[in-house]
Amino acid sequence: MGHFQVDIQFADDVAIFKTSGYINDLGGEKIEKQCEDVLREGYRKVIINLSDSPIINSIGISILIGIVDRINKAEGNVFFTNVTNSNSRVFDFMGLSKYAPIFRTVEDAVRHVSGQA
């Protein structure tokens, strides 16, 4: 679980990130870089599946805030899925969930995004 990884899949105009490993150090910056890449490719809807990242500390929160901020500024949207209860509460009081809604599963988020479209 220590080694942090990001896998990306694409469904129509949505980029779906799946992280594996703890987001608790600068290794988590990988997601930022990959978000920049998908933004450059024209994607504006990003789903981040955190099912395999149960531990997110303040460095991780900082990285996720950076991503949400960056994508929002590019007039895009971020959606989190599979967030643990504990992380969900942290997302609430850190303001993350205000700008990036949390869904139970990737399918729920995709359905929501498709509905938006």
């Binding site: 500390n57 303040s58 929160i61 900082s62 990285i63 805030i65 609430d92 850190m94």
Partner: protein, 475 residues
């Protein structure tokens, strides 16, 4: 059953009321735990083995991730140039380097301001406002600090805030989108500045956020301060290293000059000491001696004949046989060399002994003391052979040089009597390796000022490799 459920609900309800009364709602408690966890993480980060850049970056991320901001920057303060230099940033355009110079007034304000201040309230200082003049001074350790300020003055100044600084540097603070800033200080020394952008979650920063920022920036200050001390120490170490290298070079050059002076007594021996040094190092290297011993051999080679400076030049240049008195004078040069060198403390051991014994033979028939091989240190046995090898392969006033093949045969003949067997074999191996190109950086062959028949010499070397009579009884 029903009343039981009621009691439980009632108890919970009371507890929640109590928590709410104390301002510790569900999220507050969660947030407190989160902040504690962040402080713990910050402690872990600043004591980690990473580079200072990584530690500072992680600390900035931690701080931003704790107070909920997407933008922040850390500046390093360089006292010698009064420059605030941006070293780490997040959420900002990373391409523009940002640094600015602090005035005495800025320094005063940052040294005396409260731990966290707002950056948006900058206003032009009142005309004639000269805050605490001359209080900023450079401390003994190169840091900038303040002195001679009464506590009441400090308080006055802190209350006056940092309006001058925030006004003067409003463009710089705007460039890093600073909403709050925290001077990074250790004691009364300024080490840098931390800025954070507006609150990501919206609204203004509260007192709790400022407290967290204050605590975390103090920890970051210690990291930056230690880094400054470490950098200063590193610079000193580097200066000392360069100084040492320069002194070493001067020392080497002086010894080299001595060697040239020794050899200058006779045209025939020009370059002799330098060649002996080269040969001795090559043999030593073949025998696997460590670097400092090789260095010692080099200087022993350069200085082994220093005693010759007292020998009359006419004796050294004499083409005919020497008389008894002249031989006595020549035989005295190792002892004179010892007398000269024994007053010098060399870093590579006692070179004077190597000069004293470089004409000894392993069978005990050398001079001045007639010491046998078993009592001669390896360095002496190497210098002795290197000296003789050069004597044989160079022209001398009283004879022409002999060929490399003949030299090898002569050395082989004297193995175990004049010369140490293992040292001779090491020289033969060096010659073979250099002739066959096995050694990329040859030291011996390039010094021999004569062409020779390589296949023949290799053949002689091969023949010399066999056991000799004396070699069966190594000393």
């Amino acid at each position: 059953m029903r009343s039981g459920m009621y009691r439980v609900k009632h108890r919970f309800s009371l507890k929640r009321t109590e928590r709410e009364r104390l301002g510790m709602g569900k999220y507050n408690l969660q947030r407190i735990l989160y902040v504690f966890s962040s402080l713990n993480d910050l402690g872990r980060v600043i004591t980690s083995n990473g580079s200072v850049d990584d530690i500072t970056k992680s600390a900035l991320y931690l701080i931003l991730g704790t107070i909920s901001s997407s933008e922040g920057a850390v500046f390093h303060y360089e006292p010698s140039s009064c420059a605030m230099e941006n070293i780490v940033r997040k959420g900002l355009d990373g391409t523009t380097p940002l640094s600015f110079t602090l005035s005495d007034g800025d320094l005063n304000e940052l040294l005396l301001a409260s731990q966290v201040f707002e950056t948006g309230s900058g206003q032009e200082p009142l005309q004639g406002f000269t805050p605490l003049q001359r209080e900023v001074r450079t401390l003994g350790d190169g840091m900038v600090g303040i002195s001679n300020i009464r506590p009441s003055e400090k308080l006055d100044h802190a209350e006056r805030g940092v309006t001058g600084f925030t006004f003067r540097h409003r463009e710089h603070l705007k460039a890093v989108k600073a909403a709050l800033a925290a001077p990074l200080r250790v004691g009364d020394k300024l080490v840098g500045l931390l800025t954070v952008g507006k609150r990501f979650s919206g609204g203004e920063y509260g007192g709790e956020d400022r407290e967290i920022l204050s605590m975390m920036s103090q920890q970051l200050s210690v990291v930056m301060y230690n880094q400054q001390l470490f950098s200063r120490l590193q610079r000193k170490v580097e200066e000392n290293r360069k100084l040492y290298e320069n002194l070493k070079q001067i020392y080497h050059d002086t010894i080299q000059a001595f060697a040239v002076a020794i050899d200058a007594k006779d045209d025939y021996t020009q370059g002799h000491s330098a060649r002996v040094a080269q040969y001795a190092m090559a043999i030593g290297q073949e025998l696997g001696l460590p670097g400092d011993e090789l260095e010692g051999l080099r200087f022993a080679g350069l200085l082994h004949d220093i005693g010759k400076i007292t020998v009359d030049s006419s004796i050294i240049r004499k083409k005919s046989s020497l008389n008894e008195q002249e031989i006595m004078q020549i035989h005295r040069h190792p002892s004179v060399g010892y007398d000269i060198l024994s007053h010098i403390k060399f870093p590579w051991g006692d070179l004077s002994k190597l000069a004293l014994h470089h004409h000894e033979k392993v069978d005990g028939h050398g001079y001045p003391d007639g010491i046998e091989g078993k009592d001669l240190v390896l360095g002496v046995r190497i210098i002795t052979l290197a000296d003789s090898f050069d004597a044989m392969t160079s022209d001398r006033p009283y004879r022409k040089q002999i060929s490399l093949g003949e030299t090898i045969e002569e050395i082989r003949r004297c193995m175990g009597t004049h010369f140490d067997v293992e040292v001779c074999r090491a020289l033969f191996r060096v010659l073979e390796k250099e002739l066959t190109g096995e050694i990329a950086d040859p030291k011996v062959i390039p010094c021999l000022n004569r062409l020779f028949d390589t296949p023949y010499v290799l053949q002689v070397l091969k023949a010399a490799d066999g056991p000799c009579e004396a070699a069966r009884h190594p000393v």
